[in-house]
Symmetry: C2
Subunit: 345 residues, 2 copies
DNA sequence: TTTAAACCTGCAATCGATTGCTTGAATTAT
DNA sequence: ATAATTCAAGCAATCGATTGCAGGTTTAAA
């Protein structure tokens, strides 16, 4: 690690006996520089292996061309796909991406957000942690004049741009599909109700039952069945009931659905004939289990692109004030074997 | 987005009738400031919702406390786990992470690396794209005095810090396991040989065969079977041979192994009794297929932490020159049903 | 009481790039 | 040939934080 000094515009200027101003203008392709000198400067810059110091440039220009992303977990399929989508768009616009993960911890989320504010990022994209009900740190982002875009797990009260899946509609579609297949006692494994997505999925579930005039049975609704283990535990209880359900909607995730499948198999319930299973998220493994699991695809990569585009669209019109709005991406029901009571798929 | 001006140290100084120097010193907890004024400054800073401008600070200090990461794909299980591991460590050290993906494109990789150099990152962590054999851009990183750490897919010739899996040993273990199970005609689906990891896996395969005195049969070695589709295609050819193999090592990935499994099933080869399958990477789905797939775990999250720690260790001793060295993480063979010819697992 | 040391605080330069303003030269129009 | 315009390039301030040096005050030591 020798601290070899990097060439600056001054080095180039000195070598060519001109001022740094001209060098800067040439490098920014301004038309206030003679074409010949511009070429000469560019050539010299290349020779000296010049790399613009973005820190200085951004400081001067008061922008950072950087977007911060905070997600619960980078290595969760849905989020890494969203990030990948965001990256594809931001890269094409020459923006940098700073990635943080909250690990579902409210405290870490706050620290990450503050770190990003310090960095003077132009925008913060966030999907909030499961913990926490207090969102001063997000209000703080807005107070600093930084664009804030929430996605997937959003805080309704905050006036920001939001990109979400239509969880309620997707669930409605999914449950309706179950009912059409002939399932009548449909259980719900629900997630923490402080997160909007889980509230919406529950709402979709209830709406579907009402729509099809099915009774809502309290004992078929299991709280907080987020992980595979909790999903399995909930399923064990459900299937031990005097009148067990004939279908289970693992609203929290496909992992939970996997737990359902494993318990069902071990308790000798036949899937899908005796028990239908509906998951959420279209994790890659859902098409590999036997039977494969019916689930809901969230178009995560596309969602990432939508988010990034939203930012650039919005930052385009600096004159008009930001209008808080929500873009809803329509998820898609992926029908597979685990819910095909009637036909073979 | 109102361009609300952010408070600077000058605002604080003006309010308290002191100079920015003192404010700066107070904020940096220097002991050259009176305790009382320090407290007052900190209090005022909090009141004014002051956030240090890292750009200015870094520009002045000539450091960025930022690490750049370039991987082929963010949303690939192995890489997102490594990134997650890196993040956990860098976060605890107050460093930022800028993430880029090359999408396996050499050109994009070069652009990403240059963008990171522009950003004045302190370190670049990279796993190179499959494309490309020319690594001037990485040499360029070193020439700029930026620490460079390669991982997994490394370029041997470059004198840098490297963190790798012992691919050869892992493969040796895997193939030996196959042989012990009684498989005798073991095929290899190999990856692009410009990548070190695939060369090493091939080397391990050959070494294992020699060690156990098995013949090396050219027609059982299939080039470039990287994806699930290519793996399937290669398998179709292999299983159509007059003397088909009795085991296939999908050295490129578990996805390729999945292709093998699907083709084998559709061609009515019984796994594992008639065909053993060995994958690589321990993707989550490998334990969900039927039969589950034997594979090799790379301890990706741990690898990420190792990489980040290596950087901080190295940056600790600025006085001594960097000694290029390689840290080898030992992967682990995960034995599952797809190779259990003898016993049931 | 005098001298030395310790302690605060301010001044001003610095990091590298950008940009409004100005000047001088070259070009065009009258 | 002279005035008007265009063009190129330089000057100097600016973005916000940091830091070596210097000046002034207070405290401790002689």
């Amino acid at each position: 690690m020798k601290p070899k000094k990097r060439t600056t515009i001054y080095d180039i200027a000195a070598k060519l006996n001109i001022t740094a101003s001209s060098v800067s203008r040439a490098l920014n392709n301004s038309n206030h520089v003679n074409e010949d000198t511009k070429k000469l400067i560019l050539k010299t810059a290349a020779e000296l292996n010049y790399k613009r110091n973005i820190l200085a440039s951004n400081l001067r220009k008061g922008e950072s061309k950087t977007i911060g992303v905070v997600v619960p977990r980078i290595n969760q399929n849905f989020f890494s796909n969203v990030i990948s989508g965001i990256e594809e768009t931001t890269y094409s616009k020459d923006f940098n991406l700073i990635i943080c993960q909250s690990n579902e911890s409210h405290d870490k989320e706050i620290k990450c957000v503050n770190a990003l504010i310090n960095q003077h990022v132009d925008c913060i994209i966030i999907s909030v942690a499961a913990e926490g009900t207090d969102y001063k740190h997000l209000q703080n982002v807005l107070d600093h004049g930084i664009q804030l875009i929430q996605f997937d797990r959003v805080v309704d009260e905050l006036q920001t741009l939001k990109v979400i899946n239509d969880n309620e509609q997707a669930t409605l579609d999914g449950i309706s599909h179950l009912i059409e297949q002939g399932y009548k006692r449909i259980a719900l494994l629900e997630g923490p109700q402080n997160l909007n997505i889980f509230r919406q999925r529950k709402a979709g579930y209830l709406k579907a039952l009402r729509k099809h005039k099915l009774p809502i049975i309290e004992e078929l609704i299991v709280e907080n069945a987020w992980t595979k283990e909790l999903g399995a535990e909930g399923t064990r209880k459900l299937l031990s009931l005097p009148e067990p359900p004939d279908a289970i909607f693992a609203s929290t995730s496909d992992f939970s659905a996997l737990g359902v499948l494993e318990v069902a198999t071990s308790m000798n319930f036949k899937v899908p004939s005796e028990l239908g299973i509906l998951g959420y998220a279209n994790e890659p493994f859902t098409e590999l289990t036997s039977p494969s699991i019916t689930t809901i695809d969230q178009f995560s990569n596309h969602m990432g692109k939508t988010i990034a585009n939203l930012y650039f669209e919005e930052s385009g019109n600096k004159d008009t004030a930001m209008v808080p709005r929500t873009i809803s991406v329509q998820p898609k029901l992926i029908i597979r074997a685990s819910t095909s009571k009637n036909q073979n798929i």
